[in-house]
């Protein structure tokens, strides 16, 4: 088998098996989420927390507290930016954060 044929076959064979492997670390997913939301927040207000809730997405405990504040700027801010759950989740694979409806907690479970 010549070189070209060997490497072509090897590439086909190894590509076929690697599809199910290599799950992204939860730490990376946390970082991706933080970066995306930060990017969106930098370009203008996020969808407000009441609108997010109305769209069927449950809020975490901190978002839940904020979402009743009668101030559009506050309900459209990104509380994850100052939340310790974000810091822990971006640096540790299984951080001690447990409260419901926090995306950083959800990334650990998936």
């Amino acid at each position: 088998m010549n070189d070209e044929r060997f490497f072509t076959r090897l590439a086909e064979k190894t590509d076929a098996v690697s599809g199910a492997a290599d799950r992204a670390p939860a730490r990376l997913k946390s970082r991706l989420y933080s970066v995306l939301v930060a990017q969106q927040a930098a370009a203008g207000p996020l969808r407000s927390l009441p609108a997010t809730k109305a769209a069927g997405h449950p809020l975490c405990v901190f978002e839940h507290v904020l979402h009743v504040v009668p101030n559009e700027r506050i309900v459209s801010m990104n509380p994850c930016r100052v939340c310790h759950a974000r810091v822990l989740a971006e640096h540790f694979e299984s951080p001690p954060i447990y409260w419901p409806h926090c995306p950083y907690v959800d990334f650990q479970r998936r």
Binding site: D3, L10, K13, D15, V17, G19, L46, A55, C80, P103
Partner: protein, 176 residues
């Protein structure tokens, strides 16, 4: 969900990451082996570009296919940079020779998973330029002409690099 991401719904952004990060990560980490240190930054770049271009995503392909298309460009950026670095000095054993005619059998590769692991280990042991060249040429199916054009090298130089890379790879393959 994509419409909700565009509307800056933070929960939709989380769902977007949760749903697609594994596929992008798997692709990038395979293609960039052995440079595991680059993988997370490249995956992040892919998602940032996706966010910028999301409004123009026409839905003609699957979201995964679209993201992997972006990832492919980012991986090629890395290959390009790696091949632009000075060639590793070939030792005499690396030079193409009669060894290239030796036939390492693929017949014993019944276990494809084992072949994948063995390939990964060998790519990790090769000089970065060798593993980048092999992956770009055979796993990404890029032509020698295009590799030369993208790196500013001659086709002859790319062929020489590939020949050395193949010889080194096959020597390790046979030895392991």
């Amino acid at each position: 969900m994509l419409a909700a991401v565009l509307a800056k719904d933070r929960k939709a952004a989380a769902e977007f990451v949760a749903r697609y990060a594994d596929a992008v990560y798997a692709y990038v980490s395979r293609r960039l082996a052995p440079r595991a240190d680059l993988v997370e930054d490249v995956v992040q770049d892919v998602f940032l570009v996706a966010l910028q271009k999301l409004a123009t995503f026409a839905g003609q392909s699957s979201v995964v296919g679209w993201l992997l298309g972006i990832a492919r460009h980012k991986v090629e950026d890395v290959y390009r940079a790696q091949l632009r670095e000075p060639d590793p000095l070939p030792d005499e054993d690396d030079m193409p020779s009669a060894r290239s005619a030796v036939t390492p059998s693929l017949d014993d590769l019944i276990d494809a998973a084992r072949a994948e692991e063995k390939t990964r280990q060998i790519l990790e042991r090769l000089p970065v330029a060798y593993s980048a060249a092999l992956q770009w040429r055979y796993w990404e199916k890029q032509s020698v002409r295009e590799m030369a054009a993208q790196t500013g090298k001659t086709e002859k130089a790319i062929e020489r690099l590939l020949a050395r890379a193949r010889t080194s790879f096959r020597r390790l393959w046979e030895a392991s």
